[in-house]
């Protein structure tokens, strides 16, 4: 019973979609753009332009879901398709006047939304008006004219002969005017068909139909009457109420400028009875009710459950393939002229719509209980908790599998969209869920939530001047056509335009920084995820940079970068002394390869799909995480690095080899979690995110840092580990015996600095405690000294003996004395050290 209810949810009559396909125009010959780069294929431009259509969510419009690019400029458009086209109702049953009024009202409502967004339908016809079961209508295929840039990106004309306004034909083939008035004419013809209950001129041939449309220009009387006469339904015409007659006549005015606009039509008296009366109806326009799931999500699940649009089109005969060898040309001239190749008839425009079968999805989701669609988030009651179906278990599966499991994604999307709906009050819950994984469909919004984007981001962005020319424009324009261009969205002209606007806005807003090459790559993931919401992409970037790349874009950022790289070297030394020693021996410093890594947070070296997974994790961590990522990349390439000399290393990193990103994420989170925070703490951290006290590391100059091969550790971290996990740490006190005897930490090992010979890198030189160091395992080795001891030689010696996890207590032994009571650690002053050893 409950299961059936969930199927009913899925089988909602409007949860259906179909696809159409066409070919974009091929570029002729070998022309280049004004920037000297090859022209963007038209299909990519179309994909970019079509994105905005996906955001339209008006009940009188079919939603656009996807634009897929096939080989050889094929473009497939997926959109909601439900109900029945009016054309198949006409002549089957008469529509009463009130029905016609309602259809007209809703069509105009839909058109008004489009025209406000400067979108011209152009192919409005009774085939593209779909009547729903609830007697409402939806307009279909309204985006073709927009996505093809007024038809200039395709070779076929975008119009529906009978319904096309005469001025469109008059304008000729080559120039197309995007005047919204042509839709009003088409609407007039649609309504005329409805009201006369006749399919107009259905038996005429193409040429005669065009002639008919143009003959309207000569009509001296009412056009509707003329049409009625030609179809022998004058009687019906005479019975039409005046208000409707007036409406249709107004639409069918041959002078486009005298045709009313949507707004003017809506105030016509014939719609008086249809305007929303009560508040509830009006409110619906203001507060959109929360949808349990959206059509976009439904389509996403359908795809995950094996839905394949191109395959379906092939199956249903809309994509026909002829063997390529039959259509190969026979002669190609040096100028690029191709001869002897006939037009492939399969590339003609076929406006048919193929409905997508949904049965596989229904079957896949048939067993899903109803409660899944209404997840409990704040429940504290065990009884309620128990009545919930057991959670879908996908733990332990690789991320890639989880992302492709329709059922798992159903659960995640339902839950996370609810949480996002409650943002910012649900921020903590979103962070918790994001730690498990992030459903790809909602990644853009979740990232924005993780980056604490505020709700007024759109206004802030709107107020930024992105038009005025600045000195960085040239560089931006050079960089953009080279930024992640394998991606369709980012290589489309729409993508270029948006990226440029975001970068200009960033430069405008951050006058303390300079535009740095690489900022484009850094922006790319945000733009990709929020392609239809530039402002959000900008807001994400604006919150991202201070959190992870604080002061990296200063005009003189050398101090920040140098410190960062030093920390990177130290982290390598901390976790992998052998590799660190090797890299130092061959003089292969991070300066030589890691700057672009950190400056673009790997967005310049990895393809987008890898960046997304990497940043999913990064956004949950702090600004030290990138160092760990760097370490994990080195670890993956460890074997090759260890056997390579300087030249091979340089060559290896000049073009980063394939890196397994899942491994990379796992490794870096592992080291991130197992490294005390102070090991990676920096002077140039953003204070907003890293508050510091006297228990943390402060006041280390860059020169000091450069000399230290092993990182420092703060007394806070040492105390914390000693109190919670004393077995994870090995304190080595290298002060002289007198100081040690006076006061020392209980269980610390005393190796006086003067007792060790540093002539050779042999661990046995430290004396009787060398076994302790050799068998220390994963323990952190903290070297404790004071102002009088040399704190560089000993850690360096340990490092060179390949002892891992060596660090130096910042501030020396006396820092222990500053610890507050809550963190105080047992210290003792013992007369005889040997006696204490026994304890």
């Amino acid at each position: 019973m409950i299961v059936e209810m969930s199927l009913q949810l899925l089988k909602h009559p409007q949860m259906q979609f179909g696809a159409t396909t066409f070919f974009a125009k091929q570029h002729k010959g070998d022309t280049c753009g004004s920037n000297g780069l090859p022209l963007t294929p038209n299909s990519i431009i179309i994909v970019g332009r079509a994105q905005i259509l996906k955001t339209f969510n008006c009940k009188y419009l079919c939603q656009y879901l996807d634009v897929i690019r096939g080989k050889h400029e094929r473009t497939i458009v997926v959109s909601q398709y439900c109900g029945e086209p009016l054309v198949s109702c006409i002549e089957k049953r008469p529509f009463d006047w009130q029905e016609v009024r309602q259809i007209a009202f809703q069509c105009i409502g839909g058109l008004q939304v489009l025209h406000k967004k400067k979108i011209i339908h152009r192919t409005l016809s009774n085939e593209n008006i779909l009547l729903q079961a609830n007697n409402e209508i939806k307009l279909f295929n309204y985006g073709l004219y927009h996505m093809s840039d007024a038809g200039s990106l395709v070779s076929f004309p975008i119009l529906h002969v009978l319904y096309t306004a005469p001025e469109v034909f008059l304008n000729g083939l080559s120039n197309s005017i995007a005047d919204p008035k042509c839709d009003i004419w088409s609407l007039g013809i649609c309504l005329a068909e409805l009201i006369l209950n006749k399919l107009l001129w259905s038996s005429l041939k193409l040429g005669q139909r065009i002639r008919k449309v143009l003959s309207m220009l000569q009509a001296s009387t009412s056009i509707l009457e003329k049409i009625a006469r030609e179809h022998n339904c004058l009687e019906r015409y005479l019975s039409i109420p005046d208000d409707l007659k007036d409406l249709i006549e107004a639409c069918l005015n041959v002078h486009p400028n005298k045709r009313p606009t949507c707004e003017e039509l809506l105030i016509k008296p014939c719609f008086d009875s249809l305007k929303p009366k009560d508040m509830a109806e009006k409110n619906e326009d203001i507060y959109r009710p929360f949808q349990i799931f959206t059509l976009h999500e439904f389509y996403h699940w359908w795809q995950l459950a094996g839905g394949d649009v191109p395959q379906e089109l092939k199956k249903q005969g809309l994509i026909r393939s002829t063997p390529p060898i039959l259509s190969i040309p026979s002669l190609v001239l040096i100028e690029g002229t191709i001869l002897g190749q006939d037009r492939n008839p399969a590339t003609l425009y076929d406006p048919r719509i193929v409905k997508m079968p949904l049965d596989t999805l229904y079957q896949r989701f048939a067993h899903i209980p109803f409660q899944v669609f209404y997840p409990l988030i704040h429940s504290q009651s065990d009884i309620i908790e128990k009545s919930n179906p057991p959670p879908y278990d996908a733990t332990g599966l690789p991320l890639i599998i989880k992302e492709r499991d329709p059922e798992y994604q159903l659960h995640r999307v339902i839950l996370l969209r609810r949480l996002l709906h409650g943002y910012p009050f649900t921020s903590d819950l979103i962070v918790d869920e994001a730690k498990k994984d992030i459903p790809p469909l909602l990644r853009g919004e979740i990232w924005a939530a993780l980056l604490s984007v505020r709700s007024n981001y759109a206004t802030e962005y709107m107020r930024i001047d992105k038009y005025t020319h600045t000195s960085t424009d040239r560089q931006i324009e050079v960089d953009i056509p080279r930024c992640h261009q394998y991606n369709e969205l980012l290589s489309s002209s729409e993508g270029h335009k948006k990226l440029k606007r975001i970068l200009k806005a960033w430069v405008y807003k951050n006058s303390q920084y300079v535009y740095w090459q690489g900022l484009d790559s850094l922006t790319a993931p945000f733009l990709f995820l929020n392609f239809n919401d530039e402002a959000k992409a900008f807001a994400c970037l604006s919150n991202f940079v201070p959190k992870f790349l604080y002061n990296f874009f200063l005009k003189d950022n050398s101090a920040v970068i140098e410190e960062y790289l030093c920390k990177f070297s130290q982290l390598i030394a901390f976790h992998d002394p052998q590799l660190a020693n090797h890299l130092r021996d061959i003089n292969f410093y991070p300066q030589l390869f890691a700057i672009p890594w950190f400056l673009t947070l790997f967005s310049h070296v990895f393809p987008l799909y890898k960046i997304l997974h990497l940043w999913d994790k990064l956004l949950l961590c702090d600004s030290s995480f990138p160092i760990h990522i760097g370490l994990s990349i080195l670890t993956q390439l460890r074997d090759r690095l260890l056997t390579s000399g300087f030249n091979e290393c340089i060559l290896l990193f000049s073009d980063l080899p394939e890196v397994d990103i899942e491994k990379c994420v796992a490794l870096s989170s592992c080291t991130y979690e197992n490294t005390p925070k102070s090991i990676t703490s920096r002077e140039h951290e953003n204070e907003v995110y890293h508050k510091k006290s006297n228990l943390d590391i402060t006041g280390v100059s860059l020169n000091e840092l450069k000399n230290e091969l092993c990182p420092r550790i703060s007394v806070r971290d040492v105390a914390n580990i000693l109190l919670k996990n004393p077995h994870k740490m090995l304190l080595i006190d290298i002060r002289n015996t007198r100081a040690y005897k006076r006061c020392s930490v209980v269980n610390s090992t005393h190796i006086p600095f003067s007792s060790v010979s540093f002539t050779e890198n042999i661990i046995e030189n430290v004396g009787r405690d060398s076994d302790l160091l050799k068998s220390k395992g994963e323990k952190i080795v903290v070297v404790v000294g004071d102002e009088e001891t040399d704190l560089e030689t000993f850690p360096k010696f340990l490092l060179q003996c390949n002892i891992s996890k060596v660090c130096v207590l910042h501030g020396g032994f006396n820092k222990f004395l500053e610890l507050p009571a809550s963190l105080s650690i047992p210290c003792a002053s013992v007369g005889d050290p040997s006696e204490r050893q026994r304890n």
Partner: protein, 520 residues
């Protein structure tokens, strides 16, 4: 094409604003309002007022703009000033050319039907039978050709003898006149016999072709009739054995040279990496074309099987051959002979294809085109042009690109703007848009060894070709066609080991080698 935009100047009296605006205005009006606000130092509370005013202004100008565009048209049409018939015709033509509904109704052509049938069968258990049958038919032709060659040879020998005798007797009873007559007579008999034999072979091929195509269609029907796949029977399997035994007499010497070849897996692209296979080899290019007809072979070679499977697929194999500016010139003679050695069952015979290409070229050159710099009188091709033939009876290739070259290729100073290099780019483009996914290219742009091929010449040439091809392949990625999976660079047969090694060492310096996956 969208119509041009128009400049307007927005004026707001109260605040003394003047701002140029292009109509129709596409960017968000909110942002425009803000820019004007900033530029004129107006307080933020003016935002709403300004925005409304701007909206009204833009709306009014846009309506005006469209009105201007269309009202003239409509009134002209009303007054019959426009040629409506012409307009209607234009539209009718465009719709007919571009929209399925109004286009010519067209059934699948014979070619397509046969292609579908063949493709289906070849991917069924019938494959073996088909290849056997093809093999048998081709053997017949080959034997006939050998027979013809033998007859022609003996005729020549006889004539030679006669001629020698005649020349010997020149001093005695022969006159020069008589010798000339003899020559003419010899020539006549020779060409008569050759014509006769050739036409016999052609008739035979024609018959074979018909027989073969009928057989395929028939087999498909059988196949469809009983869904369980029958083991198709070839029509006359008897003669096969007979041929096999005969074959031993006409053995063809095959010199086994040590094969120089090396394969690489490379990747292109800085972030998203695309893998390709590259092979360098030194061999006689005709080995890719000619089918081995070893005497013991009663079975077709495995390469043929591969070629048959791929023929109507989306993975075609292409080869670039070099030729001169005359279509079907003597340079392609060897290649043509290889094509003619067996019956072409799928496509027109090579001469027919070449004739058709000539026709197309002549027709094109006869109508001078404005955008070419060609000499309109010349009907010869230019370096960098290429023509394409398709084949089903070659061993490893389906599509041949015949690239027109000239002597400038022998020089050592060609650069990336050389027409042949540009032609190479076009070849890659055609390959990309026609599903040719494996391609063989002469690395030195020549298949024959010549004396100027010194070490440094070879290195220079190879570097140029490597680099240019790499550039073209990177470009290809954005063309939205099929990608080149296998690329073969061919060196002339008999190139020295040192040159070969130098080429294989150069390749990893130019292309990025892809990392081997190391299993741990």
């Amino acid at each position: 094409m969208p119509v041009e935009k128009k400049d307007f100047i927005y004026i707001h009296d109260k605040h003394g604003i003047e701002y140029p605006i292009l109509i129709p205005y596409d960017d968000p009006i909110d942002e425009l309002a803000h820019i004007i606000l900033i530029k004129n130092n107006l307080p933020i509370y003016k935002e709403k007022e300004l925005k409304l005013h701007l909206e009204e202004f833009i709306q009014a100008r846009t309506t005006e703009y469209y009105e201007e565009l269309s009202s003239a048209l409509v009134s002209n049409a009303k007054e019959n000033k426009l040629n409506l018939e012409e307009i209607i015709e234009d539209w009718e033509k465009l719709m007919g050319e571009e929209v399925v509904e109004f286009g010519e109704k067209r059934c699948a052509s014979d070619e397509e039907l046969f292609a579908t049938a063949y493709h289906k069968l070849v991917h069924s258990p019938a494959l073996e039978t088909i290849l056997q049958f093809e093999h048998m038919l081709s053997k017949t032709i080959r034997l006939k050709t050998d027979e013809k060659n033998n007859i022609m040879k003996s005729l020549s020998e006889r004539q030679n003898e006669e001629m020698n005798n005649a020349v010997d007797r020149l001093e005695q009873d022969m006159t020069e006149l008589k010798i000339n007559e003899l020559v003419a007579k010899h020539y006549e008999t020779h060409s008569l016999l050759q014509g006769k034999l050739n036409s016999e072979i052609d008739t035979m091929k024609e018959a074979q072709r018909r027989q073969y195509r009928e057989w395929i269609m028939q087999m498909l029907e059988e196949n469809q009739a009983n869904s369980s796949l029958p083991t198709p029977s070839s029509p006359n399997p008897a003669p096969l054995k007979e041929f096999v035994s005969q074959d031993s007499t006409s053995s063809r010497g095959h010199i086994d040279t040590p094969l120089l070849e090396e394969s690489f897996t490379i990747h292109l692209g800085s972030q998203l990496k695309q893998m390709h296979n590259i092979r360098i080899l030194s061999a006689n290019v005709m080995e890719l074309c000619s089918v081995e007809d070893n005497q013991e072979m009663s079975e077709p070679t495995p390469q043929l099987l591969q070629t048959a499977l791929g023929l109507y697929s989306n993975d075609l194999t292409g080869l670039v051959l070099m030729t001169d500016n005359k279509i079907g010139s003597r340079l392609t003679q060897e290649f043509q002979e290889i094509c003619q050695r067996t019956t072409e069952f799928h496509f027109p015979h090579i001469e027919e294809q070449l004739d058709k290409i000539s026709d197309i070229a002549h027709q094109y050159f006869r109508n001078p085109h404005s955008d070419t710099t060609r000499n309109s009188n010349s009907e010869l091709l230019q370096p960098g042009d290429f023509y394409i033939t398709k084949h089903s009876n070659l061993e490893q290739v389906h599509v041949i690109f015949h690239m027109v070259t000239d002597d400038s290729l022998r020089g050592s100073n060609i650069n990336s703007r050389h027409p042949v290099v540009l032609g190479l780019r076009h070849i890659l483009k055609i390959a990309c848009s026609n599903e040719v996914t494996s391609l063989t290219i002469p690395l030195l742009l020549q298949y024959d060894m010549t004396e100027e091929m010194t070490m440094s010449w070879c290195e220079k040439r190879a570097e140029l070709v490597f680099k240019c091809v790499k550039g073209f392949m990177i470009e290809m990625a954005s063309w939205g066609g099929s990608e080149l999976k296998n690329l073969q660079f061919m060196l002339p047969q008999g190139i020295s080991n040192t040159v070969f090694t130098s080429m294989t060492e150069m390749l990893p310096r130019i292309f990025k080698m892809s990392n081997p996956k190391v299993l741990k």
